[in-house]
């Protein structure tokens, strides 16, 4: 790890003032479960580390009739344990519980979960976010791509978005509030994530001088669920995940949102699956049909065709879990 300057502001205004014009100027430290490791591996470097844990109002988690307001510093454990979330937004609690390490749930924050860098092992080995060798050749297509993208993988990005919470939050229509010295802005979470097109792009729209302060989840009567396919029960990255949000009349779906995780450079909204579900009753057949529709456009790389099956199953099981309360 290279030396850096450490700053610990107590307001978001102070924090924004400490950020810089480029990513190398400053990095934001919340739980640190990703940033510290990435800095130790020399994957991320910043002259200044801005520790935002001292900003009190970013720790707030409030549930009102309008919905949820989740401060960026709320931990995954706090999120999972919150009674309202367990009742009305169970898909969020399930997603947080999928981080099967009490240490990381207690340390890791919601903002950090959304802003963590991709886990692509070429990126983490120093080949850049787009994983190219020194001649510019992409390493993923002919390389070890068992964990890489099956959707949105036409290049140049092949990594998968690592967030546990993004799929369910997008399924719920969440927005994120960003703050910089020029003031706040609000972005639908779905538009927060982008697939980088070149070496200067990042995997989200956050600018070097901005911090993510809050997640706003609108209220509504929905059934939600998250299903992750993980090889290990202990801490492990999902191979594929799906979150669903269903608005229903009786046992019929009036409106569905289906979002896949860990399958594409961004959390992957699956409108084909959503259409498939409209007007339907959820059962094994309709759930599977939606799963199939969700991966209809998937194209495997050389080693990851299995992830198409896993994504299909994740959607199916998330739907059954949401509708029937079981897997």
């Amino acid at each position: 790890m290279r030396s850096f300057e450490y700053a610990s502001p107590t307001t978001k205004e102070q924090a924004a003032a400490l950020l810089g014009k480029s990513w190398e100027d400053a990095a934001i430290l919340a739980g640190g479960t990703d940033l510290i490791a990435a800095m130790k591996d020399n994957v991320v470097y910043a002259k200044r580390v801005v520790d935002i844990k001292g900003i009190k109002d970013l720790h707030n988690l409030t549930a009102t009739a309008a919905g949820l307001r989740i401060g960026a510093l709320v931990t995954l454990e706090e999120l999972q344990a919150h009674p309202r979330i367990g009742q009305e937004f169970v898909g969020i609690a399930q997603a947080a519980a999928g981080v099967t390490s009490p240490q990381i749930r207690n340390r890791g924050t919601v903002g950090g979960d959304l802003c963590q860098r991709p886990r692509c092992w070429y990126y983490r080995s120093g080949y850049g976010l787009l994983a190219r060798d020194k001649n510019g050749k992409p390493l993923v297509p002919d390389g070890e791509n068992r964990y890489h993208a099956i959707l949105g993988n036409g290049g140049p990005a092949y990594f998968v978005n690592p967030s546990s919470l993004a799929p369910v939050l997008i399924a719920l229509g969440a927005k994120v509030r960003l703050y910089s010295a020029s003031g706040p802005r609000e972005v639908p979470l779905e538009q927060f994530f982008v697939s980088p097109r070149n070496d200067n792009d990042r995997e989200n729209v956050l600018k070097p001088n901005e911090l993510l302060t809050e997640i706003v989840v609108p209220a509504g009567v929905r059934r939600t669920a998250t299903y992750e396919v993980r090889q290990k029960e202990s801490l492990d990255w999902p191979l594929a995940a799906a979150s669903v949000s269903l608005e229903m009349i009786g046992d019929r779906v009036t409106k569905a949102r289906v979002v896949l995780g860990h399958v594409a450079p961004v959390p992957w909204r699956a409108p084909e699956a959503e259409k498939e579900l409209a007007g339907k009753t959820i059962n094994a057949d309709t759930a599977l049909a939606a799963g199939k529709a969700a991966v209809g456009e998937a194209r495997p790389l050389s080693q990851n065709a299995y992830k198409i099956q896993l994504a299909r199953v994740a959607v199916k099981r998330a739907l059954l879990k949401a509708a029937l309360g079981g897997a």
Binding site: R2, W121, S125, Q231, S234, L235, Y306
Partner: protein, 713 residues
């Protein structure tokens, strides 16, 4: 001559009981200090510049900028210009500085120019290894061709393999080195306190008497920590150059890349059997790698002495960190290939594999009767006959359940060991030997043997280990420690008692031969009323304490307190989600013999640990190499996956402890129970889903591919 024999079965007060490890409290409270924890006064920290290429020649090294960095105290070039580097992560230059960040910054300032050379880092696909394979001579036993052509012979063809896995020591490799004049003190993290002391002397070309090695606790070795290594020499040289203590511990990344791994094996197998299940012929073409040196053949067919065999093995040289002994070297690989092929043969013959094993049990040689009994015991504990079903599980739903089995063997004869026991006039007992406790419970078994022999509680024994100035005792590898140290301790304790009896006998009015030590007393065997407390007896000693040695093997080798050759049977119960390819181990039964057991609790712990390690290499662990860049992609604990608590199922360990075993004396146990898990879990998976997933680890992609290929998806 004193009677060194072990107490008769059933007469012991400590040996064979369930005794908690003596260093448990120190470990769980953080009181136990590992090399990683040490901080010597004025200590410097060393970091190593490592080669980023799998194969390269060093053209030039420029350390001038690093040397000028404030805080840097010494630079040591490990491998000079013009040297050829054969794997990523190999040590090039080591730097000592006042703190870790400065050392790391200095490493970043070193300029090394490399000429990159062609590399090969993957070995499973033989068509892509170019000229990197070295076939060994074909091995023939009996008349394999005739065996396979015999009319009525059933032939099974299969492909099986296990990936390279790493040791994953929780405490990385490394040392603290400190000079005082011509004398070097090293605090290593090692399985061989004495041996590495001698190696440091040889490496540095200084007298062996000038090197002191000290270590009380080690955070895992598994076979990978028995040598000084390049980084060991480097830290000693940096300490010499600076005149200060220097610490050099590997970071996780190099720990995974260069500090040891278990060779792979891949094998195409043909197995011949008569229709009644009698195994008659084995043919295998196998290959493996253990790094640039290639990899030898594991023992195949493993355990089963099939009468007719033809074997061809190719060692593949790859540019990746070198193999080291990994818990039961070569056995898990040989066991996996053999036991999977036999299980597949049973399925082909529509036989219960347990019946097929029992039918052929004579092929296991002198242990066959015991294997037979152990298989039946394991079957009882698993309810095999009630629960086993032919392939696949026919019950509805995506989750399929299955059972699998395997057997294994190991040697485990105790190494040379010297033990000194000192009894002082105040009754205190001190026991000294240069052994080390890898976490296996060596401290505890030594204390148990001494305490049992002297008739004292284990707490009465003060132990000195982990110091090469103590009486020699071998390296802890190959399951050799418990036999060595328990034998030398028994002999030393009996020798000590003989002297104590001689001092106590006159007071009690009996001859020394009539005395026994039990329950903290020295008393006449025939008349327990004639007794002295331990303290009273010791009080008869003069100014000079009793200080005696015991040796394994001693000048009088007889009686042999130890033995060699153990085995066991394991059975696994798994569930496979056929929609996701994810495997859950529900239960493993392990039946294991190992002669006379000193501490039942730590013996069982060895088995638990071995099964957990086995689940890891069977389901999760794999060194992932990238052929394009020549690099290891998962040198971390994130994508190099180990079993966590939630992945560990019900584990049933049954130690085989009949009187016959107890009479065999002490035999090592560290390795054998880790041999079978790969085969028994994989066989259970095959039983569940009806198709073989050929290679370990059994990851979801491979499970789904096997299901698809088998038309089961």
């Amino acid at each position: 001559m004193p009677d060194y024999r072990w107490p008769e079965p059933g007469t012991t007060s400590l040996i064979g009981k369930r005794i908690s490890r003596l260093d448990g409290p120190a470990k769980v409270t953080g009181g136990a200090k590992y090399t990683y924890d040490l901080k010597r006064p004025g200590m410097l920290y060393a970091k190593v510049l490592r080669c980023p290429y799998a194969h390269a020649r060093i053209v030039s090294i420029d350390t001038s900028a690093a040397e000028k960095l404030p805080g840097v105290e010494a630079v040591y070039v490990v491998q000079e210009a013009n040297m050829e580097i054969h794997w990523e992560g190999d040590d090039i230059v080591a730097v000592a500085a006042v703190d870790e960040p400065t050392a790391e910054d200095a490493v970043g300032l070193i300029k090394v120019e490399y000429e990159q050379l062609p590399h090969l880092v993957k070995e499973e696909d033989l068509s892509k290894i170019r000229d990197r394979g070295k076939p060994a001579n074909e091995q023939i036993v009996g008349k394999p061709e005739e065996a396979f052509q015999e009319p009525g012979t059933v032939i099974l063809e299969g492909y099986y393999g296990t990936a390279v896995v790493t040791h994953c020591c929780l405490e990385a490799h490394g040392n603290v080195a400190e000079w005082e004049g011509e004398n070097l003190t090293v605090y290593p993290s090692t399985q061989a306190v004495e041996r590495v002391g001698a190696q440091f002397a040889e490496t540095l070309q200084i007298p062996a008497t000038n090197v002191r090695t000290l270590m009380q606790y080690v955070g895992g070795g598994f076979g990978s920590k028995v040598a000084v290594d390049r980084w060991g020499k480097a830290v000693a040289m940096l300490a010499k150059k600076t005149g200060k203590p220097v610490k050099l511990m590997l970071e996780r990344k190099p720990e995974q890349m260069v500090a040891g791994n278990r060779p792979s094996v891949y094998a195409k197998v043909r197995l011949a059997a008569k229709k009644d299940g009698t195994l008659t012929g084995w043919e295998s073409e196998s290959w493996s790698t253990g790094g640039v040196a290639g990899g030898g053949s594991p023992p195949m067919p493993y355990v089963w002495q099939i009468p007719h065999q033809r074997k061809l093995h190719t060692a593949v040289s790859v540019n990746a960190g070198s193999a080291r002994a990994w818990r039961a070297p070569n056995h898990p690989q040989g066991c996996y290939v053999t036991m999977c092929a036999i299980e597949d043969m049973a399925a082909k013959l529509q036989m219960d594999p347990l019946d097929l094993l029992l039918k052929n049990i004579a092929l296991t040689g002198e242990r066959s009767e015991l294997y037979h009994k152990q298989l039946l015991k394991a079957a009882e504990l698993m309810e095999w006959k009630k629960r086993w079903h032919p392939r696949p599980d026919q019950t509805p739903g995506p989750v399929k359940q299955g059972l699998g089995l395997s057997i294994h063997t190991w040697g485990g004869r105790g190494h040379n060991s010297d033990c000194r026991i000192t009894i002082s006039r105040d009754g205190s007992v001190e026991l000294s030997m240069c052994t080390q406790d890898l976490g296996t419970g060596t401290r505890t078994v030594v204390a148990i043997v001494a305490a049992e022999t002297l008739g004292l509680p284990v707490e009465a024994i003060k132990l000195n280990i982990g110091d090469n100035r103590l009486p020699r005792s071998g390296a802890s590898g190959g399951s050799t420690t418990v036999g060595g140290v328990s034998s030398s301790t028994r002999r030393a304790a009996v020798n000590a008692l003989e002297q104590l009896f001689a001092k106590a006998a006159p007071d009690l009015g009996v001859s020394p031969e009539e005395l026994e030590a039990t329950g903290g007393q020295i008393r006449a065997k025939s008349d327990p009323s004639k007794s002295l407390t331990w303290k009273q007896a010791a009080g008869k000693l003069g100014e000079t304490p009793i200080s005696v040695m015991g040796q394994n093997p001693g000048p009088q080798g007889s009686p042999d307190l130890i033995s060699s050759g153990v085995g066991g049977a394991q059975m696994a119960d798994v569930s496979v989600d056929t929609e996701t390819g994810i495997i859950k181990v529900n239960k493993i039964v392990a039946v294991q013999d190992c002669g006379l057991i000193i501490d039942m609790k730590t013996a069982e712990s060895q088995c638990y640990g071995a099964l957990i390690m086995g689940i890891g290499y069977t389901l999760f662990e794999e060194r992932v190499m990238d052929e394009q860049t020549g690099r290891m992609l998962n040198p971390n604990m994130e994508f190099y996956k180990l079993a966590g608590f939630s992945d560990i199922p019900e584990l049933i360990v049954h130690m085989w402890t009949d009187a016959e075993q107890q009479k065999r004396g002490v035999i090592g146990l560290g390795e054998p129970p880790t041999v079978s898990p790969g085969a028994c879990i994989a066989n259970a998976v095959t039983n569940a889903i009806g198709v073989r997933v050929p290679t370990l680890p059994l990851t979801p992609d491979k499970v789904l591919a096997a299901l698809e290929k088998g038309g089961m998806a």
